[in-house]
């Protein structure tokens, strides 16, 4: 089992959700985050005081999948989240050791999906 952590542009969120659904991946946890990478930040100013803000809005997907779903998930995300301009984001794949469905107490690969 793997935990796929994908950081994408806010504009891509609806497309990513749709693409995942098409790849039969229906379960995910999503949150608003701020990110910085090669993309430039900007500086803010209020009443003469400047602040360097170099974190832009991004959206973070966290998707627990069984091993055979890793590839479809990655392809689904990369297929729609890519604009080719800097700021498109990253995907990390982490190992999951255990997984539980709270509703039933089931565990392992049956619980993840």
């Amino acid at each position: 089992m793997k935990l796929i952590v994908a950081i994408v542009r806010p504009e891509a969120v609806q497309d990513v959700k749709d693409a995942l659904r098409k790849a039969e991946i229906h379960k995910m946890t999503v949150s608003h985050v701020k990110g910085c990478g090669q993309q430039m930040g900007y500086s803010e100013s209020f009443r003469g005081i400047k602040t360097q803000v170099n974190l832009l809005n991004k959206v973070r997907f966290e998707i627990g999948v069984n091993d055979n779903f890793v590839k479809p998930a990655l392809e689904a995300i990369m297929g729609v989240a890519r604009t080719g301009k800097i700021g498109d984001g990253k995907i990390f794949v982490l190992p999951i050791e255990e997984c539980y469905r709270i509703r039933t107490g089931e565990d392992g690969s049956i619980a993840i999906g």
Partner: protein, 394 residues
Amino acid sequence: MDSTNVLFLLIGAVMILSMHAGFAFLEVGTVSKKNQVNAFNKIIFDWSTSTIVYFIVGFPLAYGTALYVNNALFTYNNGIELVRFFFLLGFAACIPAIISGGVVGRMKFFPQCLAAVFLTGIIYPFFESLVWGKISFMGQDGSFFAQLFGTSFHDFAGSVVVHSIGGWIALPAIILLRPRTGRYEGHLDTRPSSIPFLSLGSWILIVGWFGFNVMSAQSLDNISGLVALNSLMAMVGGTISSLIFSKNDAGFTHNGALAGLIAICAGSDVVHPFAAVLIGAVAGIIFIKFFEFETEKLKIDDVLGVWPLHGINGTWGGIAAGIFGSKALGGVYDLNFFSQLTGSLLAVVYALAAGFILYKVIDVVFGLRMTPHQEMMGADLTFHRIETNPEESL
């Protein structure tokens, strides 16, 4: 009595001033979070430049009085002419405030301020003078229209002169500006940032509107309870019809109240309260139908829907006064339908032409449109180097 009239007009003037906060919050709540600060700075700056320009150019143009060269007016009758200016300025300044809601999210700051200068300095005052001012053409007793149709064109509180002019000028501006990037390619999130701010804006406008309409009597002697009641009835009609037709949609409901108020301005002093309910109810539905037609069918990206809201409903208000402003239908005065129709359509033609020329020229000379990157970052960061909740950014 003069002092009382000063107070009377002043109350109206201040209430209309407050409406500009309403315009700001209505826009802030409806747009994306990245364009909120811009709405505030735009509205308050447009108000400010409008004040100067209308004082120096617009008001003299419309009414023939240059207050700044005649110090005697400062104290004559408690300075009543000064307060009349303030009151009428409130109307003029609505023009840029109306347009602002349509072009939001991709128009550059200074070109849009520059437009405000011409709008409140020349374009609006000229039309104003035809109806209420010194050029006896449409609205004055004995004017050209009065001779032609038997009855002059009647626009008590500006359905046509203010709202339709503003809304129909906005249309070419919005078209010239083109839709926000991705608007019709499905990439753009059009959801509003905040219903509470939208509702706050709507409420501020509703409350201030009673200054707009009632004080249009311009002297206390002429105050009319009917104007107040009809304004209320049209607001209520617009709210009810739009809530029901939109199946309880918060955006349409709050705009429906405004639609009703826009449509009733023209005939609020002459129609029966039940006619006012009807005029408002139709206005609420007009907004829903034409907003969908405009933004979905015609693919004109009018963010707040200012063309259907102010433009079409302003025109509807002018015409409706001609229909219901009749003793046979319970009104207190007989207006002339053709006078109303012609006047209302003339305003459309004038506004479309003036709006097209103004924004085309500015576009050619300075450029109207933000760059795609600016648009993506938002007007707040682009023009004001700040987000709406600065403390939250990291």
